[in-house]
Each structure stands twice: as structure tokens, then as C-alpha cells.
Symmetry: C2
Subunit: 136 residues, 2 copies
Amino acid sequence: MNTVKDTNLIKIPKVHDERGSLAVIERDVIPFSIKRVYYLYDVPSDSYRGGHAHNEQESVIIALSGSFEVIVDDGTSRKRMLLNKPNQGLYIPTHIWREIDNFSSGAVCLVLASTTYDETEYVRDYNTFCHLKGEM
Amino acid sequence: MNTVKDTNLIKIPKVHDERGSLAVIERDVIPFSIKRVYYLYDVPSDSYRGGHAHNEQESVIIALSGSFEVIVDDGTSRKRMLLNKPNQGLYIPTHIWREIDNFSSGAVCLVLASTTYDETEYVRDYNTFCHLKGEM
């Protein structure tokens, strides 16, 4: 059963020179093949996103611009992490509740996911999530 | 043989509400499976990137933050395009020379690519590129 200890920060390889920075994700930089790419932008700084878990989908969350905080929760433990570096990705396995808040002005949140959209594998109610975790 | 007319702007589906905008790329939004994701950031505004073509790789370029211009060239025609919208992706097929310049402050350039890195499929010299196009 995944716990918040199974979420971890992945260092994304980057090359920096006088033209700027180039970060690359391919092959085994992240632990899954990318089936879905989505991103949040034009986010009001008092906005709150997330509030769900996945039964099937793994994901990596990256602050491509600005910063925000990600809360991960396994039903027992809860951890809050600041993401503010484009070459750092937060890996979230299945069965972990996540929320995102405290967006900086101009923040861009990129998410790479292991599956395409399927509403049936979302858990959108926190009490249901805790109940499911209790049964695992 | 691909020409600049085969590069085109793809509208990326987005959902906008009071929490901000969410854009999603999956399934057939772009015409290939994603094998490589890379992004440019911390780019000096007078920087210049690109200057190559691919024999195998197709890509989609997106301005996730700020703006920049992409020059596409098929050896005969040349076209310059401003990218400045996160829900707009520029599709570039194989055998098209591309350059990127005129970056705004804080610009983030996301590229989704159809193959992993393989130096042998790059064409990095413009004269060689034009010669190859002439033979096609």
C-alpha cells in the first residue's frame, strides 16, 4: 500500500549554458510511459486545485514557472511540499490523495501522467479515500 | 516531402474556471505518442535556440509562459511564427529546419517529441539540410 513515503522528488536532468536551461524527460527519468500531459496556468494565487486520488494513474508534478505547494496524504500521514524548481518533479504513485495550493503569480504546473483520462479511476471524496485505504 | 505548409497550429483543449486554466494533451490531440518531453526556461531574452532539423522526430512546441518566435524552413520557404498562448501548439513534422528566438522575459518553451534522443537523426548544418531536401 502506497504511503506518503512513496512520493518522492525526482531530479530532472538539465543542461545550462548562456542560452538558458534545457531540461529533458525521456526513457527512465520517470518511472512510467507518458500517456497524458496537462498543465495549469493563469491560476489565481488564492486558488486551490486537486483534492483527489487515483486508483490507476501515476503522475509527476513539475513547477515550470513560479511556485506552488502540493499536499500529499495517504489517509494516515499528510505532507506539504513546496515546488519551485523546473528541474524537480514530484512523483505521486497510485492511491495518494493530493491537493495543490499557494500558487505564486504566473505559476505554471505541468503534470505528466501514466494513463489517459478515465473518470472511473478517480477518487474524489476524501472520506471515501480514507475508507478505501483502511481496507487495503 | 514535408514543407512549411505541413507545420500547423494545434488547438489544445482547455477548461477555464475560477481556479484558472487547465489544458490537456492526450490521445489524438497531437499526431504521435510522446516519447520525450523537454523544456527551455531561464532563457535570456536575446537568446537563440534551435538551428536543426530531424530525420525521424516529430514535435509540438508550446509557449507555456511568455512568448517566443519559431522560424520554420523547408529549404525553399521560410515562415516566422509568434507563439504566446499555452493552449496553442506548433506541430513540426520531420525534415523541417527550425529556430527559436525573440524570447520574452520568463518564457517557458515546452516541446513534446515523438522519439527519444538520437544524435544520428539530427541535421545540424543548414547547407546539409538544404542539400538533403533537394535530393528528396
